[in-house]
Amino acid sequence: MVNPLLMLAVALGVGFIFAWLRPYAKTAAWTLLYGALVFGLAVSIQWLTHFVSGGVSTTVLPGGFSPPVGIALGWGMKEAFISSIVFLGGLLGSIALFKTWRDTPSAGPVLFLLTIAGSIGLIMSRDLFNLFVFLEITSMSTAGLLATGRHHEGAVSGFKMMLVTGLASVLFLIGTVYLYRITGTLAIDQILVSPALAGTAGFTASFLIIAAILVELKIWPANGWALDVLTSAHPVIAALISTVHSVAILFVFYKIFPLLPPDSLLIFTSAGLMTFVSAHLAGLRQDNFQRMLAYSSVGMMGLFVTVITWTSSVYGHNIPIRIESIILGGFIITHLLAKGGLFWVVAHFKDSEGNFDITRVGSTTLGGVIITGLILALAGLPPFPSFWAKWTLIREIAASSLPIVFVILLGALFEVINLFRWLGRALEGESHCAVHAPPVLSGIALFSLGGFSIGAIFLGWFPDFNISILIPFSGLIAAGLVAFLPNRIQISISILILGLAGFALVPGASGIGQAYTAIILGSGALMLLTKMEAANKDKWQLPLIVGTVLTVAVLGAVHTALEFWTSWEMMTAVSALLIVRGKNAKKSALMYWTFSMAGAFLLLAGLALAVSATGQTDLSKVFAGAPSLSIILISLGFLFKAGVLGVHIWVPDAYAESEDDSTPYIAALVSKAPIIGLILVFYYAADAFIGPFEWRVLIGWIGVLTAFFGALFASFQEDVKKLLAYSSMGQIGYIIAVIALGSYTGWVAALYLALHHILYKGLLFITIAGVISRTQTSLMYKMGGLIKRMPLSFVAVLMSIIAISGVPPLPGFGGKWMMYSAFIEAGWTLQAGVAFFASGVAFLYLYRLIHTVFLGMPKNEHINVKESSIWRLVPMYIIIAMIMGIATMPKLLLEPIMNLVQTRFPATMHWEAANLISSLGSWNGNAIMMVTMGVFMLPLILLLFRVRGVKRVKPFNIVYAAEKPERPETTHVAHNFFAHYRRAIGVIALPRATAFWRGVAEWTDTLGDWVRQWATGNGQTYAVQVLLFVSVLYFFMRQTAL
């Protein structure tokens, strides 16, 4: 084993030699420099493996004397880990800086090495004064690094840094001196056990030391200086400060915070939380990417402080190593590689004037992938380490303190919104930006992040996680890898991937989940056929579609809470990416992301609460024993995702602005995710029906009101995709309401309705996408009379609107029949009335849809429009055949559903031959189909006798008050079709939810702006803030300590 001290010595030594050697032997100097870093990394990793495999921590005594006479350096697993991080970050950073260093000779490399060496010292040292020395070293060297940037802001911010860290050093030194006076030693380990520490003097001295470290850790509000430093520094230097240096100081904090009594830990936790939330709140207002990253770094520090102090307050000094390594390790690795990677991205793409335009990142596909990955990693999405850290952290905190969970999730929500906003901007670049080389270094960082994570899974750190849940992820990558192939081969491979995934997932699932997975995969494959039509313009689309289908499907195959949460997050991320690929979809994708994430975090809180309350991992057991609060949170999460009334405002834009070919997957498949979620909750949760209040009834009301308002809003849309989006909202509302019924009939109806919704909404979106691609518009009043041009599409839309409206004989009626029966059986009569009203209002938009698009007057510009391509027609007519089949033989479909539901509720409906008997009435789908055919054929035959006398005329051959129509546009009644309805009851359809959420957004924005203004940019102000912060902190600490 190499003596760890050597790393320090080599780094320092090489630093001096380098400066001397560089003028004479360039290659040798550089080799030495990188050699030192590689050496450090190798040594650290060697020690790390040693410790992981059971090695014992050692203490290194460089002077040969034990404390209090000599200095003691600690060397254990944590130290080895952090120093690996430091060297890795240093190595990657120095590679990123190589070109700059080579072109402009400066003290940069030396200072860089010095910073790293200082950081290593900070990590290892367990002596207060020694720590002070290293603090000074790193502080000087970073200030020097800032100055080497040779631009004004860098130097200024370096000065500010000196100002504040100088202040901190003074505090630290005073504290050290006093502690030495009281305890007679400088070694931390000895001070900690010293009885003198308990007195007021000991407390004050410890406080000063810790306050100094907190200032160095950039705790709000004493962090304005750090923001300026991280903003104005060269991005790689900023990365160094933000990751390597900060992590080292964090470790110092980790070492010395036990100096203070445990009951004061809550103050640190709160300070950390405030830093976390305020940083991300202020980050919302940033339009400079590097400054946003600076805020994000600061926020991360706050989170670290929170985590460290909180775990310590719960577990005392015996924090389980697994928890510590997953949470802290996960976050630190993410912080290093993802945040560092993003800083390097900035460095990579900065032009000669120092301007950074994030759209350049997305100019190549690889660049886009890298920034997407980094941002998702930073946002804590699977499969990246921070995801596991987040899950573990929230689960642990939820066990004791729910408010902290909410504060953390609030901050995290701000963060993910902010990150996604930037991602949207980055991905815009593909279309209108000169091509720039992708940032390879950040790519490596991303790759190693993923590697860490997968490695952790394989190491068995998550026993409640089955690797098959990551199938969507591999499917996405596989589909992405074949993106260069010709379109049809690519689609065939994608369908194959779906098939393979089905092969892997379906047998492992059970019950409703199994059916769900199979159906989602099947319909996804069917819809993929439509993509055969034309070559793909967007390379991302197909992989993302495959990913979306798979992530939605895998929800049915999960067994544990963690698996469920993982698939949920994957689905949210992938579908958001799918939406953001739309032409003008940036804003709507952000809205989708915001609401999805808010829902996801509610879900996370609920799941974490349930898991910690039950101590179980299995989803069924977790739900079964879940406290009602967690059930409420979980179902709220699902309701957010379902876009129920109140949080529906993302629905229309997300559907309308995503690419026409992507919408079917989002509308038909992704919308089913919350449904399966709700079903699972109510399936397993024994107590979900008896809460502190009738939560179930509330969800039922939300469901029917969503159905009603969805239909009402849909009636007033001009854009066909928005109309369909609101229609989906309405349909989901029915399903939610009947799920909430929690009865046999209700659940059979819910599954039946959900299945149908997949069928006809998929059919509608495929057909309408075909129409839009032919007519080049999605505004309905610009279409018209297309029945002559696209008769097959017309039939498809006709079928689906009959199915949606519930008019017999198509199977929609069965759903409606069971729904009303279920409502009436359960005594939810008013809800049934509202549902009926909603289904009446649905006629309005359905008629409008088919009339304004297909009937009425054809426009001159559409005179040569062709029928949709065969690749669309085939899936369309397969779906129609399925709809007709179900209409004739509903029993084939209903019997399996009823068997499934029978496992949860006692049956209240039964079959008598083809007749379905409920407690209220009966429904014979087969007979209805026959009778309808009969009564339809009778008049048809009568009329066919007269067909010879009929003259087929053209559109303008109409009675038009004896005039001839002026133009098709003025004759086609389409725009504002339900003006009278709006006048009659439109007042209840005013966009109140939109106004409310806009208000929330504005308030948040204003608050963020207010927080942002703390960082004035004035060094003196920062110094005052530090003093005030320390004083206030002291005041609070005294209150708790004494």
Partner: protein
């Protein structure tokens, strides 16, 4: 009548319609429809005569005399007659008084949109010979040059009683199977059309308004 059924129906030119709108109009010319079997036709004629639906197109001052017909004083509905607001469903076209060139254009359009069999009743002297406006620069003198008229009711204006008498006359004509104006219009289509086009200079409609 049999021979006309097989007549080749040549597509109309529709020269008056702007080129980019021609595809919006049907360009077939009308054809006469033969009567059915004598006894069937007798029954159908009875029904036609007893269910006369009126297209009231108030072309002139005569239209004012139609109101008392519809209301309680004379109540035309007792004869099975009814006003219809659309030419598609009407069988009697009442030309209520003088016709200017401008209104004639609309009258022709409406007449052609009615379905065979259809009947025209000319009301007032103006439809007969132009009446007191006969020498005006825009009053049509003889309606029967433009549309096949079944019954004229003379007078300026004719009283409702006279109009009812005219309808009785029309009924008996229909029952006798002699009210074949629609077929006559189709057979002598070119003659009617040339008369119409002679006075309607800016013919901006299709040649036959289906």
């Amino acid at each position: 009548m049999k021979s006309t059924e097989n007549k080749i129906i040549h597509p109309l030119e529709n020269a008056g319609v702007p080129e980019d709108q021609r595809h919006l109009y049907c360009d077939a010319s009308p054809r006469p429809y033969p009567a059915l079997n004598k006894y069937v036709e007798r029954f159908l004629n009875w029904a036609r005569a007893n269910s006369l639906w009126i297209l009231g197109y108030g072309t002139g001052c005569g239209a004012i005399e139609l109101r008392p017909l519809l209301t309680s004083r004379f109540d035309i509905s007792q004869y099975g007659m009814n006003p219809r607001p659309t030419p598609r469903q009407s069988s009697v076209f009442i030309i209520g008084g003088y016709l200017s060139v401008k209104t004639l254009k609309r009258v022709i359009r409406s007449y052609e949109q009615m379905q065979n069999p259809k009947f025209v009743v000319g009301l007032g002297s103006c439809t007969v010979n132009g009446g007191m406006y006969w020498d005006s620069y825009n009053t049509v003198n003889r309606l029967d040059y433009y549309l096949p008229v079944d019954v004229y009711v003379a007078g300026c204006m004719p009283r409702p009683e006279a109009i009812i008498a005219g309808f009785e006359k029309l009924k008996s004509t229909i029952m006798a199977g002699q009210a074949e104006g629609a077929n006559e219009y189709a057979e002598r289509f070119d003659w009617y059309k040339s008369n119409q086009k002679k006075i309607i200079k800016d013919w901006d409609m299709p040649d036959y308004n289906w």
